[in-house]
């Protein structure tokens, strides 16, 4: 029994000494920690990191990819506690103003070499998006293009003897024919249905195609003083989705797969249509060079149907408490460099992204589908943005409380047949959001009417003259 005591004490001593030794982990020269969630460019990023470390032997890159949820639940706490990574993007749930007010980012221009910012295309390092009070804090990941284009599998369409559908009715009919012809080999439409945000993007795109006035994802706009989630155009979009689901034309596992999985399954020929963004092209060029596909704008539900441009967003900045701001700046310069490194050229060549650096797209856009995408996206039009009218609305987005079930959840519910009467939910959502938006406006002291753009005509681009006309 004495042995027991002894071994217990020994174990304690061992615990203390060993774990003591463990804490004294060797400090590596310079380890630059980079975190983000750019899953579609992973291959090129890793290639870039190898290249970078080769040319900068004094810096070791530690690159970690998470999902945005994981980033919010883990890294944000670290950032606030002074332990954030050296380089990280602004979470999509936040805007630059809030991040800068929180003191997360370092003004970066002093660390960048002269002329670097001039390599960016005009207007991308804009105030409110990448700059705050003229100070540059973040750089954009890529040019902003609509992320709700429809990819179609040419081989499947040919096999079914179908043309590219252009209207809601044609689209639904095509999906049905395809599913029937496929008889279990392939289906009409596939989505990453377990990611509610993808479902919401699809639904909003269809509302726009039906000529409905609706803001882009995560933004607020009112129509006649109300959140426009129960409009006739919404009903039309919902009807289309419900119809596709009822016909059984939706890939049966849609509700339980993520967007990358949907992208992969589309490439494996499991479905004829997929609504996603440019990044697919690069992934497919890499993994499925044999895939024969094209891209189109979402089918139209009305003559005044349109596709909205997305807002450019902030991406990576240098952590305010980094120990190595120079190294971090060197990393960023290399990432956007067109002379010493190939990352920008690689992503454009592969079709993952449109670059924000001057000249890169022109020189490297070789993929025919990418050109097609670029062309289709150039038909997208601007919709009004509250923050462009009044910068105070940035505070609105950090104050507003989202109502539940959200538009994203309802869209997901439609695709998974979880709700029978989506319009009831959408009406309740419009009521709740309208009330929430009013409250948020009161809290920050802006006029609720600022969310209303009376001179906006659906299907017509909203221009700076239109903003001016409102003043």
């Amino acid at each position: 029994m004495k042995k027991r005591l002894l071994s217990l004490l020994l174990a304690c001593a061992l615990l203390m000494s060993v774990s003591g030794a463990l804490t004294a982990l060797a400090d590596e020269p310079i380890t630059l920690r980079v975190y983000d969630w750019s899953d579609s460019t992973l291959v090129y990023r890793q290639k870039f990191h190898e290249e970078f470390m080769e040319k900068n032997p004094d810096i070791k890159i530690e690159y970690t990819q998470l999902t945005i949820d994981q980033f919010n639940s883990t890294v944000v706490g670290a950032i606030q506690n002074g332990e954030g990574p050296d380089l990280f993007p602004v979470p999509t749930t936040l805007n630059l103003t809030t991040a800068v007010n929180e003191g997360w980012f370092l003004p970066m221009e002093q660390y960048l070499s002269e002329g670097f910012v001039d390599t960016f295309q005009d207007g991308v390092l804009a105030e409110g998006v990448q700059r705050k009070n003229g100070v540059l804090y973040t750089l954009p990941e890529s040019g902003s293009l609509s992320n709700s284009m429809i990819f179609y599998n040419k081989d499947i369409l040919a096999e079914c003897g179908l043309e590219v559908p252009t209207t809601f009715d044609e689209f639904r009919a095509a999906c049905k024919t395809i599913t029937e012809t496929g008889a279990g080999r392939y289906w009409g439409l596939i989505e990453g249905g377990n990611q509610a945000n993808r479902c919401e993007i699809l639904l909003r795109a269809l509302v726009q195609s039906a000529g409905g006035k609706i803001a882009i994802n995560g933004r607020a706009l009112t129509v006649d003083g109300r959140a426009p989630y129960d409009t006739p155009e919404m009903a039309k979009a919902v009807e289309l989705l419900q119809g596709i689901v009822e016909d059984g034309s939706l890939y049966p596992d849609t509700a339980s797969i993520s967007a990358p999985e949907a992208r992969e399954l589309f490439a494996q020929g499991k479905a004829a249509f997929l609504c996603q963004g440019l990044w697919c092209i690069g992934t497919w060029a890499n993994d499925h060079p044999e895939l024969n596909y094209g891209v189109m704008t979402p089918p139209k539900g009305a003559d005044n149907g349109y596709v909205a441009n997305v807002e450019g967003g902030p991406w990576m900045g240098i952590y305010a408490k980094t120990k190595y701001p120079e190294a971090a700046a060197r990393y960023l310069e290399a990432l956007y460099s067109t002379t010493d490194y190939h990352y920008q050229a690689d992503v454009v060549k592969s079709g993952s992204y449109v670059s924000v650096i001057k000249g890169v797209n022109e020189a490297n856009m070789v993929d025919p589908v990418m050109k097609e995408y670029y062309e289709a996206a150039s038909k997208c039009i601007d919709v009004p943005i509250a923050t462009s009218r009044d910068a105070k609305f940035y505070d609105f987005y950090s104050t507003v409380v989202g109502a539940t079930p959200s538009l994203a959840s309802i869209a997901q519910g439609i695709l998974s047949q979880a709700i029978d009467e989506p319009m009831d939910y959408l009406k309740a959502l419009s009521d709740a959001e309208t009330a929430n938006w009013k409250t948020a406006c009161e809290t920050i002291g802006v006029d609720f009417a600022g969310l209303e753009f009376p001179n906006w005509v659906a299907g017509q681009p909203y221009t700076s003259e239109d903003y001016a006309a409102l003043q």
Partner: protein, 312 residues
Amino acid sequence: MSQHAIKAVRSPIQRRNRIKLNLWCWAFVSLTLIFYLLFQGYPILCSIYYSLFNWSGMTSNMAYVGLENYRSLLNDSVFWGAFKNSFRYMIMVVPLEVVISLFFAYLLNDEKLKLRTAYRVSLFVPVVVTASIVGIVMVFIWSSNGIINYAMKSMNLIDKNINWLGNAKYAMQTVVYVSVWKDMGTYMIYWLAALQSVPTDVIEAASVDGATRSRTFFSVVVPIIAPTAGIILILCTINSLKAFDLIQTLTGGGPFYATDVIATFVYRTAFTSDMGLPRFGYASAAATMFGIVVIIIGAVLNALKGKLQDLQ
């Protein structure tokens, strides 16, 4: 009861001993107490504190709102949906888990069974597999062209393939099956232990009496293992109310909240948002509110267990 009644002692020497004894006792609990306070007690207090604020968890501006978060929770249908689901999940999981594990344990409690070890290992193995892997694998196995559909179709149990995890009608029960599959082994082992405490001669005596196996089970075995059953029930109930990892990786609470339990609600509310910032304070209030309800239930169950043991 063999507890030393410290208070009953009177004389001065004994009083000194009493103080000494109390000091020893506190010294012995101190390690647990420190670890508890550091990693659970204080964080829970923090969480309760946060629940009084309108706070995103991402920014430093916390606005005190008093009990406002709790008030909005009362009107939040999604919260109550998750609340209900937590208990629905519990009610579905606990009986299945307990009965199935008892069934296997009873069959395996036969030392002369040839492949006993192999059976036991097979049934226990899912317990040691990480939830995130289970999540991925199960999405395939229960997918519309996975093995489950294939098997059920060939047995004519269904006529159309079902996406079990993606269909709101079936998602909850599928999650329940998967978690029973994953955790059953633990409870089976508990039951095996309990059954091993049933003296073999009791069973043999019953068999000699000509009692059938099932009669033997209910009239002889059940009374002996009843106290253990209480502990197993409590463990199973607590674990089912805490379920998070598996549900998060299987469905994330979807589709359309069909499998949303409190833990997934709290996680989603605290760290994600479709518009505006995440609501960490609100999520903390939800966690606290649920915790309080569970404490009440736990107290009731504990009292019941005490009653049961007194009766024995």
